[in-house]
């Protein structure tokens, strides 16, 4: 297919045909490298019941370079900062071209289920998470209610 990497076409088709559980990724009408993502907070996590919007962009030399992913919905999480940037090794130095949009999104969903305050991106959130986990989880639930639900 001219002008689009065949791999992107294969991935897009697979994502639409068999979306990963709790995740939808839809290519933008005008840009097949830009995906609108909606992710359900994992059950049992403070983000349960929330629907989070993310954007995912595939660079020109994808898959040799990783996709850029960012949360658009505000979220209280030690590895996600105010701008929605995500601290996740596979999005940086641990990226491998055998990973896909699907595996990246599943890893981000797993990160919601297991926050890692020892490798923080949002320092204040990580500090709270380490000093007072109960309070931190409560705040994460409040933010989920406030920003990630329709109500």
């Amino acid at each position: 297919m001219v002008n689009v990497s065949r791999r992107i076409l294969v991935e897009t088709k697979n994502l639409l045909r068999e979306p990963p559980p709790g995740i939808s990724a839809t290519p933008d009408e005008d840009n097949c490298r830009y995906f609108h993502v909606i992710m359900a907070g994992p059950a049992g996590s403070p983000y349960e019941g929330g629907l989070f919007r993310l954007e995912l962009f595939l660079p020109e030399n994808y898959p040799l370079y990783p996709p850029s992913v960012r949360f658009l919905t505000k979220i209280y999480h030690p590895n996600i900062d105010k701008l929605g940037r995500i601290c996740l090794d596979i999005l940086k130095d641990q990226w491998s071209p055998a990973l896909q949009i699907r595996t990246v999104l599943l890893s981000i969903q797993a990160l919601l289920g297991s926050p890692n305050p020892d490798d923080p991106l949002a320092n204040d959130v990580a500090k709270m998470w380490k000093n007072n986990e109960i309070e931190a989880i409560m705040r994460a639930k409040e933010w989920t209610q406030a920003y990630a639900t329709d109500e």
């Binding site: 297919m1 001219v2 002008n3 294969v10 030399n61 071209p97």
Partner: protein, 173 residues
């Protein structure tokens, strides 16, 4: 009658198994059937050009992250395979596309050649294509190719019949 049916079913199942066996040839980098499959020392198999792309970048196997030996691209462990017919197109491969290297003309791999031919038939002036993980501009008017991020590295391209003598295919002699 029931027996006859089971005999009928048997060969069909075998065929399906053969199809399944062919699936391991899918390259985890381009997500398509391997073209010029090459096997790394760790045992993982990818397209030669996909390995070339990784070897220029992370230098590690995409599956297990084992280092790719420095001389692998010069001395790849290519697997001898029957060529797999391309599906979903009526491209007959009579005409192929070639690019000029330092020491002569080389033929593009079949998939890239097919993509260029498709653009040629669509009468596009130029288009972008991923080769070895690098985005190239193919300019069909000027008959050149160059990496998008480095337009100085221009190479001539030509369309010719498949049998035209050349150095090799996609860097493989």
């Amino acid at each position: 009658m029931a027996e006859g049916e089971s005999i009928e079913i048997q060969p069909k199942t075998e065929l399906e198994l053969k199809d399944k066996a062919a699936e391991w040839l899918e390259c985890a980098v381009c997500l398509q059937t391997c073209i010029h499959p090459a096997q790394l020392p760790c045992g993982h198999i990818f397209c030669f050009l996909c390995i070339k792309g990784i070897a220029n970048q992370s230098k590690k196997c995409a599956m297990c992250r084992q280092e790719i030996p420095r001389d692998f691209i010069e001395h790849p462990n290519l697997l001898r395979m029957e060529s797999i017919p391309e599906t979903s197109s009526n491209y007959d491969g009579t005409y192929q596309w070639f690019y000029e290297g330092r020491n002569g003309w080389w033929r593009y791999d079949d998939r890239t050649s097919e993509d260029i031919e498709q653009a040629f038939e669509m009468k596009l002036n130029q288009f972008q294509i991923l080769i070895c993980g690098e985005l190239y501009i193919i300019d069909l008017d000027a008959k050149v190719q160059y990496p998008k991020r480095d337009p100085c590295r221009k190479r001539s391209i030509k369309r010719d019949i498949r049998e035209t003598p050349c150095k090799g295919v996609a860097g493989i002699i």
